[in-house]
Symmetry: C2
Subunit: 274 residues, 2 copies
């Protein structure tokens, strides 16, 4: 094992969950956060000890997407780690920030674990949050093999499955499988905000499933969507067009057009089931 000491920068849900998973594998974990209460809580949960500048093998930067670049630059300036990765849910913008700030790209592996909960903060952390989940890694032309090996080890120790993908391809993919579906769930759930009690009494499991992720933190999702605006907008436009077309078809009695959408939906759903 080459990953023996790790630093987690940002002890929120994702950072603390990764720290807990690493601790379970006997990796020494150091914790850092701008909020001292967040570090204290993560320590009390057994996620590691407070970071006092110790040099580590890998630093996991678990801060909001728009802060990744500057945090990476600062950590590299003090030679905090041999390698660095982040967990932001968009990749092109943080990479562009890192380049702009003159970061060393050989030791940086952009990453994104596809896992989360509706709750945030260290108290919501789970040692098995990443178990069986995909974890995207977006090495670029400059990425060094040592950094990639350490980051792959992190993914493996967290029980996740590494998916290597280009940054732009990643952002388009998560627009389709995560970001746009979040906005769609919000739009369905938004219709319930003014619904009467009898209507709500008829809500079943299907609606609860469709809208579950709409419970996510609006300000966190504002940041995520802002960082991936164009790919998300493109997917939303296509879904909006399909829904408007279905509405028009229902009104005109063109049920074949509606059935075609239902069939395509069943096909698409089948590709991610089982």
């Amino acid at each position: 094992m080459t990953l023996q000491k790790a630093l987690v920068v940002g002890t929120g849900l994702i950072g603390t969950s990764a720290a807990l998973a690493l601790r379970e594998k006997d990796v020494a974990v150091y914790l850092s956060d701008v909020d001292p209460d967040a570090v204290r809580l993560a320590r009390e949960l057994g996620a590691g000890r407070r970071w006092a500048g110790e040099e580590v093998d890998l630093a996991v930067i678990a801060v909001p997407p728009h802060l990744v670049g500057e945090r990476l630059a600062a950590l590299q300036k003090q030679s905090a780690a041999r390698a660095y990765t982040d967990v932001a849910s968009v990749k092109a913008d943080p990479i562009a920030d890192a380049e702009r700030l003159g970061c060393d790209l050989t030791s940086y592996v952009p990453g994104h674990p596809l896992a989360g909960r509706e709750r945030s903060g260290p108290a919501a952390a789970r040692v098995d949050l990443f178990s069986g989940r995909p974890w995207a890694l977006c090495p670029g032309a400059a990425t060094g093999t040592a950094a990639l090996r350490l980051t792959r080890e992190l993914v493996s120790l967290c029980g996740a499955k590494a998916v290597v993908v280009g940054a732009d391809e990643h952002d388009s993919a998560v627009a389709l499988v995560s970001h746009a579906p979040h906005v769609v769930a919000s739009a369905v759930a938004a219709r319930l905000a003014s619904a009467d009690e009898v209507t709500l009494a008829l809500a079943g499991q299907g609606l609860r499933d469709v809208t579950r992720i709409a419970a996510g933190n609006p300000l966190l999702w504002r940041m995520i969507l802002a960082g991936n605006a164009d790919p998300v907008a493109a997917v939303l436009d296509r879904i909006a067009a399909d829904l408007a077309s279905a509405a028009s078809a229902l009104r005109s009695g063109d049920l074949d057009r509606v059935t075609d959408l239902l069939r395509r939906g069943a096909d698409g759903q089948g590709r991610i089931s089982a």
Copy 2:
């Protein structure tokens, strides 16, 4: 107990599940279906015995929405039961059919259990399918108290919660909480039909939840949507408008507009959680 003998007409998922629940409470259950194999399978599952014209307390008409009226008329003509209910997911059309066909409306209680599975047919039936679920009842001005009492007993024996609501109000409500969300789930899932393998590898639990119901039978849902076309179209138009507006706001950087939708979504979701 006044419900001692029941007839289930249509031994699909819903009919057979109701039959199993009634059998568990020692109600005598008779089974009927145009498909002899469906009746045989339901009998083998312990759902009851084949109906040979015995008069019962309550007939549960579990056939597609557009067949409810004619089946009710035929059953009433042979005095099959003291009371009748149906389980169709729309209510205004079957009631209009029943009126048009001259059915006795005093013995008919339109009903709709809000429960289902992605699979259909008697083999998918579950004795606890309705447990804890809402079951809409839409008695009209003509509905007799004896019929309503028997139907309420059915709901109770199935472990469900009766929700009394007018037929038009029901149809608008289920457009919002069930039918439109199904089309939305299909539209999200349809985007996956042509996605590449790396994109699908990044799919997480959130997407699986949002799209789960899109696995439902397209031809069954075609019928359901056709029977509730205008209310569903109205909801779909509003959701499509919200998504197109969100796409436009993302492109122009108007993040407050996006955040407002996310907030309304979190509010709406909160009304059906817990």
